[in-house]
Symmetry: C2
Subunit: 127 residues, 2 copies
DNA sequence: TAATGAACATAGTGTTCATCA
DNA sequence: TGATGAACACTATGTTCATTA
């Protein structure tokens, strides 16, 4: 009978975290999949976090399904004749949806912050 | 060829998070499985995190395998004749191992804090 | 009925493979 | 070879079932 599974509400999932970055990076500069991956790996190297390529693609595809992003296939910058997939906000309200998603994620990140802070206090706090 | 699978190094896993709490709670007061669960659910209710019972048991069993905790079966406090499983640090060096685990988790929690802070800055920062 | 634990099932995510330019 | 995407496989975790007191 297809019971829905309840998440226990632990920390934010990697997928959601990446979707958030995909949106922000779309707001900032136009990049394609593997470049986004490189940028993120570079940014998070000091933290020991190294996402892999399929998570990036899944995050992007999720956002397409959510009606947030759409693809723009282009010849790669410069010489080669290789086709590459860039992203922009979808149609009329893609950017609105994106902003909404970001607001949710802000709440979620704040929640995670609080939980971890609590854990530090509870397990390592003075007293 | 049984290749080892690499975690990408995203946030701390629920299991590790709970093991940390199990250790600290063992340092503080003696409790048994389902009571630990109740306490944690109560503590994290404001954060929308509600662990389930099997995660607690798995965390405790992990710690036994790690040589950190051992079981003490006792009649439940008060009247009933029900047997309940309490925990204490195992043998000679259980508590040492526990402290070591906690040190690792402290590093890990700090790392998570930083990553989330970075995400907040990167995606919502002023500028 | 409360407690413990295991078995089972699904979601999350890492690895490999296929295809194309 | 770089890029994209899907298929596949394993891990993390949630749900259900069995057993006992």
């Amino acid at each position: 009978m297809s019971e829905k599974r309840n998440p226990s509400g632990f920390l934010v999932k990697q997928r959601a975290f990446l979707k958030l970055y995909m949106i922000t990076m779309t707001e900032q500069e136009r990049l394609y999949g593997l470049r986004l991956l490189d940028v993120l790996r570079e940014e998070f190297r000091p933290f020991g976090y190294r996402p892999n390529h399929s998570e990036i693609y899944k995050a992007l595809h999720d956002l397409i399904e959510d009606g947030v992003l759409e693809q723009v296939k282009k010849k790669k910058e410069g010489m080669k004749l290789q086709e590459v997939v860039y992203y922009r906000f979808a149609g009329e309200n893609g950017h609105e949806k994106a902003k909404k998603y970001k607001r949710q994620l802000k709440v979620e990140l704040d929640r995670c912050q609080s939980m971890i802070q609590k854990a530090v206090r509870d397990n390592f706090g003075i007293k």
